[in-house]
C-alpha cells in the first residue's frame, strides 16, 4: 500500500476526473468565489435557495484533485439541505480534516476526506469550497484562504 492511498481514494479520483454539478448556474440566489493564493486554486459556488433550503448548487473553477473532488462532493451533499444542516455539516467536515480526535462518522460520503488530516498542507484544498459555500450563504462575495 502506498502512503497516499488514504488520500487519493478511488472516489476522490473519480470526482476529480468527472466532477458533478461542475457548471454555471444561471438562476441563482447566492454566490461566492473562493481563492487560495498559495496554490492558485479557485472555486466559484452558485446556489439557488428555496426559502431556507438549497434547491440547486453548482461549482466552477480550477484546482487540485482534493479541492475539485471536495467541491464536487459538496454539491451532491448539500442539495435539499437547509442552512442549519449545512452549518452543522461544515463544522463536522472541518473537524474531520483538522481535528486530532476521532470524529464521529455521521458524514456519509464526506468521510472519505479524513485522510487529508495527515497532510496539513492539503487541508486548505479540501476546505476551500466549504469556506466559499459558507460565504455565499452569509452573503459575502469572496473569501481567501491561506
Amino acid at each position: 500500500m502506498n502512503k497516499w492511498d488514504d488520500l487519493y481514494l478511488e472516489v476522490i479520483l473519480d470526482h476529480n476526473k468527472n466532477p458533478r454539478n461542475n457548471h454555471k448556474l444561471e438562476k441563482h440566489t447566492h454566490h461566492a468565489d473562493g481563492h487560495n493564493p498559495l496554490c492558485g486554486d479557485r472555486v466559484s459556488i452558485n446556489i439557488l435557495m428555496d426559502g431556507e433550503t438549497v434547491k440547486e448548487v453548482s461549482f466552477t473553477g480550477s484546482g487540485c484533485a482534493i479541492s475539485t473532488a471536495s467541491a464536487s462532493i459538496l454539491t451532491e451533499t448539500i442539495k435539499n439541505k437547509n442552512r442549519t444542516e449545512i452549518k452543522n455539516l461544515f463544522n463536522d467536515f472541518h473537524n474531520l480534516v483538522t481535528s486530532e480526535n476521532e470524529v464521529e462518522k455521521k458524514l456519509g460520503k464526506l468521510a472519505i476526506f479524513e485522510g487529508v488530516k495527515k497532510y496539513p498542507a492539503r487541508v486548505k484544498c479540501a476546505t476551500l469550497s466549504w469556506h466559499a459555500l459558507m460565504a455565499a450563504l452569509e452573503g459575502e462575495k469572496e473569501i481567501t484562504t491561506e
Binding site: K3, W4, L38, G40, D41, C64, A65
Partner: protein, 404 residues
C-alpha cells in the same frame, strides 16, 4: 570523481522520507547545508559568540575578525573591487528593498519609470510597486516569449528619459532562464540608467565577476548557496553606496550620535544597523569556501549535465509539458502534467521520498503568462545525481498511472 561522494557532505540527505531515501529536488527554494556550514554555526556559538565591532574583549575580537573575514571571502567570490562594496543583509529580498528605498526612491519623481521583467520573483516586483505607488511613478515590464526568454528588443522601446532604474533577475526561479544581463546592463548604461541584478538563483550555479559584469547593484541570499537562512549579500558600487542614505537607523551604522545630529558610519556599516546575523555571515563565508573548493566552473558543468539529462527524460513522457525552454538555463525545470494539478504531483512524489516544489513560485505574472495556476518544479544542486532524476521520472510515471 568530484561529485561522486558529495551527498556524504550533507547530513540531512541521509534520512528516509516515507520509507524512501530522501531525494531533495527543491534547492531553488533553499539548498541543504554541508557539514562545514553546520559546524561553523556550532563553533561560533560554542566558542566565539559575542557582539561585533564594539567589544575590546577577546571573544568580540574573534567574532569581528570572522565576520569581516567572511566579507573578504565574498568580495573575492563575486569579484568586487573592495570589501566596502559588500553589505550584509537578511537576503535578496532585503537587498532589493534597501536599494528601492535608499537609492531609487530619492531619485523618483511623478511619472518617472522603473523597468523590471515579466519573469521576476515577487521580491523584485513588490518593492518597486511600493515606491512607484508612493511617488506616483510607473512600473514598466520587459515581456517574455513562449520559451521563457526576455524579448530584448522591447527593452529598447521601454527605455526613455523618464526611466530611472532597471532591476532584473540573473536567473529565473520559476523558468530557469539565464538572462542576457550583460546586454541589459549595457543598454542601461548607454542610457545613463543604473541597474540592479537579482542573483538569488545565479550565484550558486554560475561564475560571477562584478568587475566584468559592471552591474551597479547585485544581490543574493545565503540560504540558496548552502549557507543558513537570514543572511544575504547586497553588492553595490562604492561610489553609489557612499552617496546613499541609510536604510535603517540604529547601532553600528553611526559614527556619533547627539540629539542634535547623528553622523552616519562609512560604508558598508552604514547599511548594517543593529546586531547583524553574525553566525550566518560567518557560515556564509564557509559555504562559499566549500563551493570554491569544488570550483564554480565544475559546478556549472555538472549541474548543466543534470539539467540536460532531466530535460531529455521528462520530454519522453507525453503527458509532460516543460514550462520554460530557454536556450540558456540553470538549475530549474518547471513542468505541468496533463490533468494532474502540481499539488497532487507534489504530494505523490513526497510519498516516494522526493521533494519538489509545487505552486506559483512567487512568480504569479509568469503563471498568468502561461495561463496556468501553478507548476511542479524540480531544481538541482551539487548533491543531486542522475540516480535522483531516474527516481523522479519513475515517481512521475506512477503519478500519471494513479490519475489516468
Amino acid at each position: 570523481m568530484l561529485f561522486e561522494n558529495i551527498k556524504d557532505d550533507f547530513p540531512i540527505l541521509e534520512q528516509e522520507i516515507n520509507g524512501k531515501k530522501l531525494v531533495y529536488l527543491d534547492s531553488a527554494a533553499t539548498t541543504q547545508k554541508p557539514t562545514e556550514v553546520i559546524n561553523s554555526l556550532n563553533n561560533y556559538y560554542t566558542n566565539n559568540n559575542s557582539n561585533i565591532h564594539r567589544g575590546v574583549h577577546t571573544l568580540s575580537q574573534r567574532a569581528t575578525k570572522d565576520y569581516e573575514q567572511s566579507r573578504k571571502i565574498i568580495t573575492k567570490f563575486i569579484g568586487a573591487a573592495s570589501s566596502k562594496e559588500i553589505v550584509f543583509v537578511r537576503g535578496a529580498t532585503e537587498a532589493i528593498n534597501l536599494i528601492a528605498n535608499s537609492y531609487v526612491k530619492p531619485l523618483l519623481n511623478k511619472n518617472d519609470e522603473i523597468i523590471i521583467s515579466q519573469m521576476e520573483h515577487h521580491a523584485n516586483i513588490v518593492p518597486w510597486q511600493m515606491i512607484c505607488e508612493e511617488k506616483k511613478a510607473k512600473l514598466r515590464i520587459i515581456p517574455i516569449d513562449n520559451n521563457g526568454e526576455l524579448i530584448l528588443e522591447e527593452l529598447n522601446n521601454l527605455v526613455n528619459a523618464k526611466t530611472k532604474f532597471i532591476s532584473v533577475n540573473h536567473v529565473s526561479n520559476s523558468l530557469g532562464t539565464i538572462n542576457p544581463i550583460d546586454t541589459i546592463i549595457k543598454v542601461a548604461h548607454q542610457n545613463n540608467i543604473r541597474i540592479m541584478i537579482d542573483g538569488a538563483q545565479a550565484v550558486q550555479h554560475l561564475e560571477i565577476d562584478m568587475k566584468k559584469m559592471d552591474a551597479d547593484f547585485y544581490c543574493f541570499s545565503g540560504h540558496k548557496i548552502y549557507a543558513p537562512t537570514g543572511i544575504g549579500v547586497l553588492y553595490g558600487k562604492k561610489e553609489l553606496l557612499e552617496k546613499m542614505q541609510p536604510y535603517q537607523g540604529g547601532g553600528d551604522m553611526i559614527k556619533s550620535v547627539t540629539f542634535e545630529k547623528t553622523i552616519y558610519n562609512d560604508i558598508p556599516n552604514r547599511f548594517e544597523a543593529g546586531t547583524p546575523n553574525i553566525s550566518g555571515a560567518i557560515a556564509l563565508g564557509e559555504a562559499i569556501e566549500y563551493i570554491t573548493q569544488i570550483g564554480i566552473h565544475n559546478i556549472t558543468k555538472y549541474e548543466n549535465d543534470l539539467l540536460n539529462y532531466a530535460t531529455s527524460k521528462l520530454k519522453k513522457i507525453n503527458e509532460i509539458k516543460i514550462i520554460g525552454e530557454a536556450k540558456e538555463k540553470a538549475g530549474v525545470i518547471s513542468f505541468v502534467i496533463d490533468g494532474i494539478h502540481p499539488h497532487d504531483i507534489g504530494t505523490i512524489l513526497d510519498s516516494h521520498g522526493i521533494a519538489i516544489r509545487a505552486g506559483h513560485h512567487c512568480t504569479q505574472p509568469v503563471m498568468d503568462f502561461y495561463n496556468i495556476p501553478a507548476t511542479a518544479r524540480a531544481s538541482f544542486a551539487i548533491y543531486n545525481d542522475k540516480n535522483d532524476i531516474d527516481k523522479l521520472i519513475e515517481a512521475i510515471r506512477k503519478c500519471i498511472e494513479v490519475f489516468s
